[in-house]
């Protein structure tokens, strides 16, 4: 008998979504998809607002990564008004973003993802969660909470607000860093780096090994990738060129200002979220598992794949080991977790690099701006992928049009593909159990949507 299976809501993800799996008469998966039914409306209600106010409006888009929206927005407004922040202003923005990344990755790995691996995908859902982990390993859980708290409190103590930040301003940053702040944050980031290195070792020794077979099969699809790199081809989260990689590994680099020449957005009737695709490949859009068209992925695995190297030594060593084992580009969806922990090491190392440069304490942190008509694209790498804010302003410097492509949006198509792949390989003869359904959710969780 044909029937439909719903997983609603998908748990342990940051957003809201549900999964719909259709079985045919033989009990095989005919189709599966992810429905996203939240509508935000920010593109519309920033219209008419003074552009300099927008960075503190769009920070409300997401409570998990408000810094990313805040900074992408500031970069877009800088462009509209034609101002360039002084070096220390850029560094402070980048430092805040980097620390926010460090905190976010700990949140995802330990609080959202780890239970599937540590407690096991078939365990009762009552213990397959962060509380279950805390009971199984109270010492580690305590350390995780402390470390995440530390990162959040650096942001709050220095920038006033960790959530819904306001310290990024058009032309730079609002608050200069004192030498005492610098030394204090530096010491804390060194502790966080130690913990990042510990986490990656712990994951490589204790978390991933029993799942190496699952990693090679669950939710695996073949797509292109996109991320941001600097002039040397090294992964960069704050600024650089966007690199679009085809499934065969060939790359094109472009300036974020020209994103519309390379990307386009496809609309499906079952989801409010649009599905961006690589227009520049001239092959159209298709989510066909055997022959996808125009599909690329973003977020940690994508960034690790498109980057030629990591800019910091320990993260680079980890990347080399990763590439030796899994190749480039690595396609296995569960490797997002591994890539995330490599990025965690990078963010801590990079924050330390920024803090070791005394220039960050310069009082020159903001360039005065004048409102004017213009267009600007602001782009940063959010934890969940390449984040694009595109604004146009009128002569008064008020927003006339806004287009936002949020990190996870790029991954909506690929998430649908991974879910279908997982469902097709797990469900046969109409037999479904909770462990199977949780494994399908795991294919979604890897993307950290």
């Amino acid at each position: 008998m044909a029937r439909e299976i719903h997983i609603q809501p998908i748990t342990r993800i940051e957003g809201h979504a549900s999964i719909q799996i259709q079985l045919d008469d033989a009990g095989e998966v005919r189709d599966a998809r992810v429905n996203i039914m939240s509508l935000r409306g920010f593109e519309k209600f920033v219209e008419g607002k003074p552009a300099e106010e927008v960075p503190r409006i769009v920070s409300r888009i997401c409570g998990i990564c408000p810094w990313m929206h805040h900074l992408a927005s500031n970069k877009a407004v800088d462009r509209c008004f034609g101002v360039t922040p002084p070096p220390a202003g850029q560094m402070l923005r980048e430092l805040m973003q980097t620390i926010a990344h460090a905190e976010d990755k700990l949140l995802h790995f330990f609080f959202l993802a780890a239970a599937d691996f540590v407690i096991g995908p078939d365990a009762d859902y009552a213990v397959r969660n962060v509380i279950g982990i805390a009971k199984a390993n109270p010492e580690l859980a305590q350390k995780v909470v402390q470390m995440r708290y530390k990162a959040k409190m650096i942001l709050e103590k220095f920038a006033g607000k960790a959530i819904h930040p306001v310290a990024g301003v058009v032309g730079g940053f609002a608050k200069p860093m004192t030498e005492a702040d610098r030394q204090d944050i530096l010491a804390q980031m060194r502790e966080l780096l130690d913990f990042a290195l510990f986490t990656l070792e712990f994951a490589k020794e204790k978390v991933f090994p029993p799942y190496l077979d699952a990693i090679q099969t669950l939710g695996v699809i073949r797509t292109g990738f996109m991320g941001t790199v600097d002039d040397d081809g090294a992964l960069n989260l704050y600024d650089g060129k966007i690199r679009l990689m085809k499934p065969d590994g060939s790359c094109t680099d472009f300036d974020a200002q020209d994103y519309k020449d390379y990307l386009s957005e496809h609309v499906e009737s079952h989801s409010y979220a649009k599905m961006p695709y690589a227009k520049a490949w001239n092959e159209g859009f298709s989510l066909d598992l055997d022959d996808p068209k125009g599909i690329y992925r973003v977020n940690t695995l994508a960034r690790i794949n498109v980057a030629d190297k990591m800019a910091t030594p320990r993260a680079q060593a980890e990347l080399e080991e990763f590439r030796e084992r899994f190749g480039r580009p690595a396609q296995a969806t569960l490797l997002y977790h591994w890539a995330r922990l490599i990025e965690e090491v990078y963010t801590c190392e990079h924050a330390i690099e920024l803090l070791e440069d005394p220039e960050i304490c310069s009082p020159q942190i903001r360039t005065t701006a004048e409102p004017k008509a213009g267009r600007g694209v602001g782009c940063v790498e959010a934890p969940r992928g390449t984040l694009i804010h595109d604004y146009s302003t009128d002569d008064e410097g008020c927003i006339t049009r806004a287009n936002l492509i949020v990190g996870t949006t790029h991954n909506i198509g690929p998430i649908n593909m991974s879910v279908k792949q997982a469902a097709q390989s797990l469900i046969h003869d109409g037999k479904v159990d909770e462990g199977m359904l949780n494994r399908i959710e795991m294919a979604v969780r890897a993307y950290d949507p």
């Binding site: 106010e53 503190r56 008004f81 306001v166 200069p176 004192t178 005065t368």
Partner: protein, 148 residues
């Protein structure tokens, strides 16, 4: 926050501070100045060295920058802590809601500016002054303009 939770558990309405953000703001106010117009937050406010404490910086409004402190309820930084945005040297935008019960932050702010002789038309727009409150009974479909 803890006090609010305790009150909720005991089935009582939490007691909110009756003060405004300005009442808890450490910046210097010298009283009514010669200010006639506001300027947009497109440049740094005046302050001294990076480590100069906030109680040596002049009030944002007196420097001519819109700050919603006068009409916004205090408490965002916790008790006896500097309001959060101010501590980043950024003016308040009112996220803690109106200081008076069921107040309208936009109307109250425009009143406060006008009664101090400040031209409210110097603001590029005023709708977003009502960013965090005032939606009660006001949400309705946008009126369609009739085709000529």
């Amino acid at each position: 926050m803890f006090a609010a939770l305790t009150a909720a558990v005991e089935g009582e309405a939490p007691e909110l501070p009756g003060k405004s953000v300005c009442d808890t703001c450490p910046t210097i106010r010298e009283g009514k100045g010669q200010l006639k117009a506001l300027r947009r937050f497109l440049q740094s406010p005046h302050y001294g060295a990076p480590d100069e404490p906030l109680d040596k910086m002049r009030c944002f409004l007196e420097q001519g920058f819109l700050c919603m402190g006068p009409v916004t309820r205090a408490g965002c930084g916790g008790s006896q802590i500097t309001p959060r945005c101010i501590s980043a040297r950024v003016p308040c935008r009112g996220c803690y809601g109106p200081v008076v019960h069921e107040g309208n932050q936009m109307v109250d702010m425009l009143n406060a500016l006008a009664s101090n002789g400040i031209d409210v038309h110097s603001l590029p727009e005023h709708v977003s002054l009502l960013r965090f409150s005032g939606a009660h009974r006001r949400l309705r479909p946008k009126r369609q303009r009739k085709e000529a």
